[in-house]
Amino acid sequence: MSGQLVVAQDLPWPPSVNDFYPPAVAGPWVTKFTLMVWLAVGLVIIFYMAAYRNPKLVPSKGQWLAESVYGLVRDNIAREQMGNAGIRFAPYFTVLFSFILVTNIFSIVPGLQISPNAHIAFPIVLSAISYVLYLAVGVRKHGLLKYLKMSLILPGVPWPMHFLLIPIEFLQNFVVRPVTLALRLFANMFAGHLLLLVFTVGGFVMLSADNLFVQVTSVFSFVMAIVMAFFEALVAVLQAYVFVTLSANYVGTSLAEEH
């Protein structure tokens, strides 16, 4: 992205929100972001299909990798957050984790350089599915009324406190959870891209300055851009893990017997 801009010698300084909205490829339906999402979907499907085309008890490398992801989500996320009853959700959470991981990693893939999750629409979709999932699981397990009571009323609290606590619990369980889930992922990817833009474009801006000292100093900016790229890789994995873990945790509270 910044590459095109440098070639144009028309450096967009400072980086702005508009850098997140490149011109559409062909109308509002076919943009860089929608194409990247389709690419991610294709990559994940191809990876799992290829890895599990011919599964064996003693796995090949690809199969081992696919099973490692599944094992991580199954044992370290699903079972940890939801207990043994949550293992049936492990397949969905594995797909979710893989999709978020791949789309997040796009932020440091040369040529793509931005994650689709830097547009809030995609985190909203994923968070909405988790929202519906944990509500549905709760209602199905306990019934609508009991689930609402479980979610809103804290046991062992003097009754006047409920005037205060019920709105808070309602906000907490039915508003804040899905919103923060989507915002956290979006903001991390947005900020990560912005950081990379600042140091990369900033480096080019310094390089094209008239002052020799400023030109030399641009090296530090590029070094920082590289460091930030590694940092971004860490954030990409971490945010995928956090998103899935929190979703699993919410489903786990729906499955739980107590508040």
């Binding site: 929100v17 508009n18 997140f20 909205y21 490149p22 011109p23 559409a24 509002p28 339906w29 943009t31 972001f33 929608t34 999402v37 389709w38 991610a40 979907v41 994940v44 499907i45 799992y48 299909m49 599990y52 599964p55 008890l57 696919a66 099973e67 599944y70 094992g71 199954r74 492990a90 397949p91 969905y92 594995t94 797909v95 979710l96 999709f99 689709p116 547009h119 809030i120 629409a121 995609f122 909203i124 979709v125 994923l126 599915i129 979006f186 947005f190």
Partner: protein, 175 residues
């Protein structure tokens, strides 16, 4: 709203086309993987757990069986050793008995042979003495006849002279 053309965006507001695309694309991903891949993944996971735990159990069972067999063999070996020792002792005792028997028999036999030899010697001696006595008598009578000039044989025989003489000699020799 797709606002790219206008050039001003609020990053907090989603682009509705992206919501649609995101939903469809992710739904497709979830559908394909949950239908074709994940069930096999869980099956394989269980199969592997079974294989590993089953293998461990089988190994434990085999180990236990091997230990049991070893104990059995050791017991049998000890039994066999005791048995062998017993047989050896028996054989040794038997051999000793046989040896004693043979020795006793041999001693008996030798005693018997010696006794028989002695008896024979006595008998032969008696015979020889008797023959000698006759012969010596005859010779003496013949000699005496020759000296005296007439045959004393008949008379001597009648009188038992020679025998008496010889008896006298014997008793004198014995004295």
């Amino acid at each position: 709203m797709y606002l790219a053309a206008e050039g001003s965006h609020n990053p907090i507001l989603p682009i509705w086309q992206e919501l649609v695309v995101g939903t469809i694309a992710f739904a497709l991903l979830v559908f394909v993987l949950l239908k074709f891949v994940m069930p096999r993944m869980e099956t394989m996971y269980q199969a592997r757990v079974d294989a590993i735990e089953g293998g461990l159990k089988r190994a434990e069972a085999a180990q236990a069986e091997a230990n049991q067999l070893l104990e059995q063999y050791r017991a049998q070996l000890a039994e066999v050793r005791t048995e062998a020792a017993r047989i050896r002792d028996d054989a040794r005792a038997d051999a000793e008995g046989v040896r004693q028997d043979i020795l006793a028999k041999a001693r008996e036999e030798s005693d018997r042979i010696i006794a028989a030899g002695k008896e024979q010697l006595v008998a032969e001696r008696t015979t020889i003495v008797r023959e000698l006595r006759t012969e010596v008598g005859t010779l003496a009578v013949d000699l005496a006849g020759k000296i005296v000039g007439e045959s004393l044989a008949d008379e001597a025989r009648r009188a038992g002279t020679v025998d008496r003489f010889l008896d006298g000699l014997e008793s004198a020799g014995a004295r």
